[in-house]
């Protein structure tokens, strides 16, 4: 299949405005004849649903949580980028565009990223108008901070909870439309299948998580805004409920999956403390401004620390290896996320990791505390230090923090064209669940930007074009495709409920996570990936034989919910491995050990891999078909990143 990205003609800076003009409009009186289904209520979903309802469309919104405000956008800490140039420090739409393309290691579409940069400024205006309490200066104007991957201060923030404040803004806009009757909200509903009628997405099958009732919902278009799939690794900074089911179901119905192997692994997370661990907690990367990363020089000393015979503070300066400062003298501890993460892994693999499990490196503030005094450090990072103390019971003012990388964000997702439409007409993907704007690595403070740009400022235009094209003829659930899809869901649920084996679903999930982390994590190679594929296939076969699912469908049944999600994760895991295996280059978050520079840095292969890998489902247990969208760079020059 030829992938048409529908990138508009013309100069980069004019593409979006020209495109907006060329898109068809829906007459205001006709808008109320359309129904749009939105799955997911995070930044992308809530903003899209509210904006579309404001335009006059009827919107149905679904979320699996007990309230739309719980979506995991809430957990973003740092901030949101916007090319406002309020600092007069040389920022511009073009610079944000350039930084994002470069940060993504030249694996994103120019036109999409430029649009994102253009809309970034509108997002801030919109959020302020809604009452989002961004940080301000004494003069009453908005404050900014700087973030990794750029040389300007363009990040707007609301203390350490920018994500929550932005989501509450979108949620309030959504609430207003619920009150107006334009949005019908379905909490505690999970989408379990997409319904395609005559080649077009026209509805979904949901399960009411309280009663277990399966419901069919019809709409003129279906928007997926269901977030990332980082939980395929079991341990990640994602919420426990974050899952791939909605996009995976859509994928199996014909939506191509773009770049599934692009995963962002964040270097500063609180390390795993034991087998019981259910989730990892991120700490803002701003900590690396003052913290120094080190491990002991020798394995013997690391062993002593692991056994509790030696305290970190007793390790002499000469016995410490500040490996980031040693290897990257000019960037030091402030190298990008992927580089910092990989180096931590190297140190641990070398047997020099610390902490009880040996899977951690130190982030030491003692120099900074000596230089600036404890109060200064407290003022800057107080709440992060408190959080660390709360979780680990170690006082980071006295002992160095232990940190380790953790899965944080997935750049891959459903393949979408410039209009955010997937390969199924009428099915759209917004926010983290699409693959679009971050290439192979996302810059800090850009996820919030993308989710809101998609929801507030892109989809209201591009969806109109599609809807005007298909016309307002009513859709309902009487088409046999709905009954068929519902039957398929029922069968699947019944099969799951019949599983009375001897291994819990969590055990499978943990096992999958181990495989993914070991072979498809921070560093990947052919042998490992090939092995992983076999392991995952075996795991899948075993799951459908030996998993334990209890209870019945007609109740709140978290065992059943989890089983369905993990089953989908297992299948996705295999596709991620396929994708990682085929991409024999390193780029951004995808590091193939076979493709590195002499100094051990990621080495791209632009001649052979400057494309988006869009995977097509061809049938159960069949290999997926690879489709390529070649990336054309008309404005930026592709270069090798160096942080020496």
């Amino acid at each position: 299949m030829i992938l048409d990205s529908k990138i508009p003609e013309g100069p980069l800076a004019e593409k979006w405005s020209k495109h907006k003009f060329n898109l068809k409009l829906v007459n205001p009186a006709n808008k109320r004849k359309y129904t749009v289904i939105v799955v997911g209520s995070g930044l992308a979903g809530a903003s899209a649903a509210a904006s579309l309802a404001e335009l006059g469309y009827n919107v149905k919104v679904f979320c699996f949580q007990d309230s739309p405000r719980r979506a995991h956008s809430i957990a973003a800490q740092g901030g949101i980028n916007a090319a406002k140039n309020y600092r007069n420090d040389g920022d511009s739409v073009y610079r944000l565009f350039y930084d994002t393309i470069k940060g993504g290691d030249y694996r994103a579409r120019e036109a999409n990223v430029h649009r994102l940069a253009e809309e970034s400024v509108n997002i801030i205006d919109q959020c302020v108008a809604q009452g989002v309490p961004f940080a301000r200066e004494y003069g009453g104007l908005l404050d900014n901070r700087s973030f990794g991957g750029s040389q300007v201060s363009r990040t707007f923030y609301a203390r350490g909870q920018t994500g929550q404040q932005l989501l509450l803004g979108a949620y309030s806009a959504l609430n207003r439309q619920i009150h107006e009757g334009k949005v019908k909200m379905y909490n505690r509903h999970e989408m379990l299948e997409l319904v395609v009628v005559d080649g077009k997405a026209q509805g979904i099958i949901t399960r009411d998580l309280i009663s277990g009732k399966l419901e069919t919902h019809a709409g003129h278009a279906v928007l997926l805004a269901t977030g990332g799939y980082g939980n395929v690794f079991y341990l990640s900074t994602n919420a426990m409920g974050s899952n791939t089911t909605a996009i995976w179901r859509a994928h199996k119905k014909g939506a191509f999956f773009g770049n599934p192997c692009y995963t962002q692994i964040h270097p500063t997370c609180i390390p795993v403390s034991g087998d019981h661990q259910s989730k990892l907690t991120l700490m803002s990367e701003s900590l690396r401004n003052d913290g120094r990363v080190w491990v002991p020089k020798t394995q013997a000393m690391a062993e002593q620390i692991r056994k509790g015979q030696l305290k970190a503070s007793d390790v002499k300066e000469d016995d410490r290896d500040y490996f980031l400062e040693r290897k990257y003298p000019s960037f030091g501890n402030l190298v990008p996320r992927d580089v910092a993460s990989r180096n931590a892994k190297e140190a641990v693999d070398d047997g020099r990791g610390v902490g009880g499990s040996g899977k951690a490196v130190y982030l030491d503030f003692s120099d900074a505390i000596q230089r600036l005094g404890q109060p200064a450090i407290q003022a800057k990072y107080g709440n992060l230090f408190d959080m660390y103390y709360q979780i680990t019971d170690e006082n980071p003012y006295e002992l160095p923090m232990r940190i380790y990388p953790a899965v944080h964000y997935t750049m891959g997702g459903l393949w979408v064209d410039y209009n955010l439409q997937t390969t199924i007409p009428g099915l759209y993907a917004l926010g983290e669940c699409n693959f679009s704007d971050h290439g192979a690595n996302r810059l800090g403070a850009s996820a919030l930007m993308q989710g809101l740009a998609d929801g507030y400022f892109v989809i209201p235009y591009t969806l109109g074009d599609y809807l005007a094209g298909i016309g307002p003829k009513p859709v309902d659930t009487s088409h046999p495709a709905f009954a068929e899809a519902q039957k398929a869901v029922e069968n699947r649920l019944n099969t799951l409920l019949s599983l009375k084996g001897n291994k819990t679903v969590d055990e499978y999930h943990r096992e999958l996570g181990n495989i993914m982390w070991e072979y498809c994590g921070m560093a990947r190679n052919e042998a490992g990936l090939t092995k992983a594929k076999g392991l995952i296939q075996a795991l899948k076969a075993d799951f459908w034989k030996n998993a334990i699912v209890v209870g019945k469908n007609e109740e709140l049944n978290m065992s059943l919910e989890k089983a369905g999600r993990v089953a989908d994760f297992i299948e996705l895991g295999e596709l991620m491995v396929d994708d990682a295996l085929h991409r024999r280059e390193s780029c951004g978050g995808h590091f193939r050990e076979e493709s590195q520079t002499e100094e051990g840095e990621a080495l791209r292969d632009d001649d052979n891999f400057a494309y988006v890998a869009a995977w097509e489902f061809t049938g159960e247990n069949m290999p997926e078909q690879l489709n390529k969208e070649h990336l054309v760079y008309e404005n930026v020059k592709l270069t090798q990143r160096s942080y020496k």
Binding site: A50, E54, Q65, D66, S67, P68, R70, H72, A75, K84, Y86, N122, D125, Q126, C127, V128, A129, Q130, G131, P133, F134, A135, E137, G140, L142, Q161, G163, Q164, Q165, L168, Y171, S172, A173, N175, R176, H179, M185, T237, A239, M240, G274, H276, Q277, M387, Q390, I391, D393, Y456, N502, T504, V505, D506, E507, I548, V550, G551, E555, L556, M558, S559
Partner: protein, 255 residues
Amino acid sequence: MSGNMNLTLKVWRQANASDKGGFVTYKAENISPDMSFLEMLDVVNEDLLKKGTDPIHFDHDCREGICGMCSLYINGRPHGPKRAITTCQLHMRSFKDGETITIEPWRATAFPVIKDLAVDRSAFDRIQQAGGYVSVNTGGVPDANEIAIPKVIADEAFNSATCIQCGACVAACKNASAMLFVSAKVSQLALLPQGQPERYRRVQSMVAQMDAEGFGGCTNTGACEIECPKEISMTNINRMRRDFFTAKLFKEEEI
């Protein structure tokens, strides 16, 4: 492992909203002090699943203290014995080996039990749907720096905005009153210039919805602000009262 604990759990089990429910006692054995409270329940649940029995249902999602989905009334207090944290951030080292821990759901008419420890908090959504927003459409808004907001006001609005909608205030209040929650939401927008045009309509609509949901009234015991994981202050409640009485006595907007 040494230092691990054995605990007795008294857990409220209730099959569904209409079931009568009751306490069931479980043993939680070999619990690491580094586990979070929810991870301890995960361990108990894994055990139950292996026996083919229904696990204990409880709400949780982000497990980093910000989504507000986790709840649990632990040993007589919402979110357990420690201040300013949610249950997911409570670690087992806060308990003693051999201790008996009583775990109950949030109790309030407005928060009916769905199953076991999971309750329905959609009343909070409905209160905000009644008016917890600034009525602006997407697009066509002024530049973000057009309105200067004094830092103290922005900070105070932020303090109110940190509410995570978990419902601990209702659970803690002997009257099951939602005043702290509602007032935090009302305050955020009442403080900011963007919220002024609808200020007096909003407070009346939201209070009316709060009453309609069946929450109790505030008697100023102050339990809510002590138990709030985000340390939202009772000042918000008094601010809302001023706005409410001002609206009723002196303003034209009536709802």
